[in-house]
Amino acid sequence: MNNNLRLHYEIDGDDFVVAGEASSNVKKILKKAGFSPEVIRKVAVAMYEGEINMVIYAHGGTADVEVSDEKIVMVLKDSGPGIPDVELAMKEGWSTAPESVRALGFGAGMGLPNMKKYTDEMTIDTEVGKGTTVRMVVYVKG
């Protein structure tokens, strides 16, 4: 790929049914661009968990993805409630999700840990009452 690719998505916070469509689209584009299945899966899962989080907790937001030969950078931004204790939120199994979210198959306290696990870099910028921005990077090796 000679040129960097920039993708922008508006994540609808009210429609659980379409949650994941942006990640699905990114996955398709990366596949077409010829990235390895491993890189594609890492990006797809990390972004998908992020997308689900935005829908469940933050009434949606935006996702910006920058694709180059070296790395894929995902920036997920929402104007939701923010995360009071990021360290705690990063703990596997720790969750504030209500039963309604768990009934959907999520909210087991694995979202943020999964996002960290599947990416090479992850930073969370959050302020209670203002929102959260998560930046994730997956490096394309070899």
């Binding site: 699905s24 899962v45 968990e49 198959g105 087991a108």
Partner: protein, 117 residues
């Protein structure tokens, strides 16, 4: 194990993906928690679940899974089936409960999905 054999063993009804019955499935995982599937399953596999919503198909898609089995006779609606069709997946439903569905497949040689940890 072919998809057709899985369907036969579980006495399952194929809801979409009739053209993929010869697809070879080597391993599977059973879970109602999609985040667990996203966290631990490493290689291509089949998903058995009692959870019925479109995110089951999305999760399978992200994990490169080609086959989803809904257990306990749960009927996915048309939007779920259409989404799976769009993603070129096989979807089936069985009256079997999770435990027995997994047990039958395991006893017949289907492996456990390789996990990261």
């Amino acid at each position: 194990m072919k998809v057709s054999e899985i369907a036969k063993l579980l006495n399952a009804k194929i809801l979409t993906g009739e053209d993929l019955l010869d697809l070879e499935i080597r391993n599977a995982c059973g879970s109602d928690m999609m985040s667990d599937v996203l966290a631990y399953v490493k290689n291509q596999a089949m998903l058995l679940t009692g959870l019925v919503n479109p995110q089951v198909i999305r999760t399978a898609e992200m994990m490169d899974m080609h086959c989803v089995v809904f257990v306990r006779g749960k009927q996915p609606d048309e939007s779920i089936i259409n989404l799976a069709r769009e993603k070129n997946m096989v979807v089936m439903m069985t009256e079997r409960r999770m435990f027995s569905a997994c047990g039958i497949l395991y006893a017949n040689g289907l492996g456990e999905a390789e996990t990261e940890q």
